[in-house]
């Protein structure tokens, strides 16, 4: 793809480049033909180059060594050869067809070819076997710290909106293959805003019922009122018993693990606004890593993450 917005700039660069090289060559030819009087006889004034500045500032001839002139010619030859082989003259691609993107792709392909046998070894193994391999675990740790720790924390303990990977509580499932699927293809969980449907009073009741599920302090009367509302509006995803549904990434509401927090205000926020992309910096998707990391690294990461809560 060309970077030029109009044909004019293409020709501007071609003409400018060719004219500069031609001018340099012309200057070398002309200057190598000039002859002037060298060292003068005693008592006589030496010749100057004839250039005068500021009225009376003249320049003696202090000749450059001639081999230096050949260096200039070499640069001109180099420039011409370069422009033939590499991009430089306007949008001409050069006969080698070299681009920086090609060069980078070639280098990364070379590295991939070198590391492939190592990854292939682990790809052929069962994820649980990989998790038991100390070298794989060390590699997985490095990969995790470089690629995952920004959101999930260096210790994989998670933070607000980003689940902990150390506990055995999973939004989408904790089987090794499911974890690999989550890393490879990413996950986007959506909880719709339920505030308008439930109304202010209904929301309060549902909050009390939800808090009752994990044994948190709640208004028991409101909790009883909330139960049918929950079963009507929330059970489709979170289940009638509130234990969640790993098929859609709906969290279990009966354990003491909260992705955003367990306070009434936080639960209210979740119900009113929902939990989905674009709300704020705590509502980000789990991105897909298949393309950026490749199968081998995803395999090692899945084994490492599974091993965090299943090592002992």
């Amino acid at each position: 793809m060309s970077d030029f917005t109009s044909e004019f700039w293409n020709w501007w660069i071609i003409v400018g480049t060719v004219a500069s090289i031609g001018y340099c060559a012309w200057l070398l030819i002309v200057s190598s033909r000039i002859k002037m009087k060298g060292a003068p006889a005693p008592g006589k004034q030496a010749d100057t180059t004839g250039h005068t500045w500021d009225g009376d500032l003249a320049e003696y001839n202090n000749p450059l060594p001639r081999w230096w002139m050949w260096l200039f010619w070499i640069t001109i030859v180099y420039a011409v050869v370069y422009l033939v082989f590499y991009p430089g003259l306007g949008r001409a691609p050069g006969v080698l067809g070299w681009t920086s993107a090609n060069a980078a792709a070639k280098e990364s392909a070379a590295v991939d070819a070198k590391t492939k046998p190592l990854y292939d070894k682990y790809l052929a193994m069962d994820l649980k076997q990989v998790a038991a391999d100390p070298q794989a675990r060390a590699m997985g740790e490095r990969l995790f710290l470089n690629n995952c720790a920004q959101c999930h924390g260096s210790d994989a303990g998670g933070s607000r909106g980003f689940p902990s990977l150390r506990d055995n509580d999973w939004l989408w499932g904790g089987a090794p293959e499911t974890i690999r699927e989550s890393i490879a293809n990413g996950r986007i969980g959506v909880m719709p805003a339920m505030g308008p449907t439930l109304g202010e009073d209904g929301t309060k009741s549902v909050i009390a019922y939800v808090r009752s599920l994990s044994g948190l302090a709640h208004d028991s009367l409101r909790g009883q009122l909330g139960k049918p509302l929950f079963e009507q509006n929330c059970a489709a995803c979170h289940g009638v018993d509130g234990k969640g549904n790993q098929a859609v990434g709906a969290p279990n509401l009966t354990d003491a693990i909260w992705l955003y927090g367990s306070s009434e205000a936080t639960i209210a926020e979740g119900i009113n606004k929902g939990r989905h992309l674009g709300l704020d910096e705590n509502h980000l998707p789990m991105p897909s890593h298949k393309a950026s990391l490749g199968d081998g690294k995803v395999q090692l990461l899945a084994a490492y993450v599974w091993g965090l809560s299943n090592s002992k």
Binding site: K35, K37, G38, A39, P65, R66, A149, S154, D155, G157
Partner: protein, 476 residues
């Protein structure tokens, strides 16, 4: 400039010829004549000293590896017992500071000592000239040989010379590459097993040696090296420079050894041109200090031999200072002024930096630690009601043997390291990122940042632990 120097007008070499010259000067080949004497001996001593080090170092071993190796691909420089990592680049700065201060000191004291005795350009030119002399003969023989038409004898000599030069150059190239890729395996791989870049650098460095020492010679000093051009700012009137004593030598003139020159009104200079013939840059030192002069002192040795033969005292051309010549100082006064405030300051600075670097290298720890706070989670409350912060510790073991480390933390009462299997084993010359969780009781610190210090200690290590500052956050 001084009085003594202004009495001799600086004359261009080809004065009076009125020849037409172009803007580009055709080089006149210089045929330096062989010279022996005190300074020539010094000069050869320096050739041997520098080249024994250069050609010898790659052969040495240290702890089952090459003693001196600059492993650029692995970003590690091995110099005997020390391994330098990219994090040690500060030592390169110190090396450059030492080099600069040495240059100031030596130049202020005695001019271009580096150029005259130690610079590779001078040293290799001297080696190549020696080869040239052994094969083609001294100055006159070489001039005659070059004027002769091509003959079998000439071809033989030239072939022998260039063959010898190329052999030296290639060996120099191989040795040079041996500093960057293990030397003995490199030698074993010649010629078939060499990599493309190794071949390139052997040929490149070899060609540079061959071209610079065989052909370019004084052209490098005159036109390519910046040092000739800025040396004048480091000279002063108490700097020892190679000087022709014009007061004693002029008016110059040829005379018979028997004649009493002084009665004829002549000075000590017999105008024998020896000082010009021995000069590797082709100048006439009698014109005074010139930028082309590399300070090799060949003219001193040459002139002294002539003075001896004439029965005159040595030193018509000698190391002296502008002041000494103008004021007629004796040797003691001159040397006292060479060690003037300026050079003493340089010596003091140089000694300080050298000692500081030496001490720093001696106490330098082979453990390096970086603490990186997790940005995603500033502070967490655990199920047990403790406050938790998360960090990554980048622990580098720059030692060549594997070590085990313990991590502890200080600064907040009751704070402890959790979730790390201690001790942490790290291989030699490698680094590990260690995720670390710190937990402290809820009321142990003030809300916000509290100063803490990680202490990383080598298990069974005699050296003090590495302390790294960080902060621990309590919720507001």
């Amino acid at each position: 400039m001084s009085d003594s120097r202004t009495t001799i007008p600086i004359q261009p070499a080809a004065a009076g010829t009125e020849a037409e010259v172009g803007l580009y000067e055709i080089r006149k080949k210089i045929y330096p004549r062989a010279v022996s004497g005190r300074f020539a001996t010094w000069s050869w001593a320096m050739v041997f000293a520098t080249q024994i080090i250069f050609y010898g170092l790659p052969w040495l071993s240290w702890n089952d590896r090459q003693a001196v190796l600059f492993d650029i691909a692995a970003r590690k420089f091995y110099i005997f017992g020390i391994v330098f990592w990219p994090q040690d680049v500060i030592y390169l700065a110190f090396l450059l500071i030492i080099a600069a201060l040495s240059l100031f000191l030596f130049t202020a004291m005695a001019g271009r000592l580096w150029c005259g005795y130690a610079c590779p350009q001078t040293v290799y030119t001297q080696i190549f000239l020696w080869v040239e002399r052994k094969i083609e003969g001294d100055r006159n023989a070489r001039i005659i040989l070059d004027r002769q038409p091509l003959s079998a004898a000439k071809l033989g000599k030239k072939t022998a010379k260039h063959g010898a030069w190329m052999a030296i150059s290639l060996w120099t190239g191989v040795t040079f590459v041996g500093y960057f890729t293990p030397f003995r395996p490199l030698l074993a791989a010649i010629p078939g097993g060499l990599g493309g870049w190794e071949i390139f650098w052997i040929l490149f460095y070899g060609l540079a040696t061959y071209g610079n020492a065989g052909y370019m010679r004084e052209q490098v000093c005159k036109y390519m090296c910046p040092y000739a051009r800025f040396q004048s700012v480091m000279f002063d009137k108490d700097t020892l420079v190679i000087t022709y004593d014009a007061g004693r030598g002029e008016p110059r003139g040829a005379r018979s050894r028997k004649s009493a020159a002084r009665t004829k009104g002549l000075g000590d200079c017999v105008d024998c041109q020896i000082c010009v013939q021995v000069c590797p840059t082709g100048i006439d030192i009698r014109h005074g200090l010139q930028y082309e002069c590399i300070g090799c002192a060949a003219c001193i040795d040459g002139c002294n031999q002539v003075m001896d033969r004439m029965g005159y005292p040595q030193g018509l051309i000698r190391y002296t200072t502008e002041n000494a010549l103008a004021q007629g100082y004796d040797n003691a006064t001159m040397w006292k002024r060479v060690f003037r405030a300026r050079t003493l300051v340089y010596i003091g600075l140089l000694a300080t930096v050298v000692v500081a670097v030496g001490v720093s290298l001696y106490v330098r720890d082979t453990l390096k630690v970086d603490v990186i706070r997790d940005r995603g989670t500033l502070v967490r409350e655990t199920a047990a009601g403790k406050i938790e912060n998360v960090y990554q510790l980048q622990i580098m073991n720059t030692d060549e043997s594997p070590r085990r480390f313990t991590i502890s933390v200080e600064g907040v009462s009751g704070i402890e390291v959790v979730g790390v299997e201690q001790p942490i084993a790290i291989d030699g010359e490698s680094l590990r990122l260690v995720p670390v969780r710190l937990q402290a009781p809820t009321e142990a610190g003030k809300p916000g940042a509290n100063r803490i210090e990680f202490v990383i200690e080598t298990l069974g290590g005699a050296k003090r632990g590495w302390r790294e500052k960080s902060t621990f956050l309590f919720p507001r």
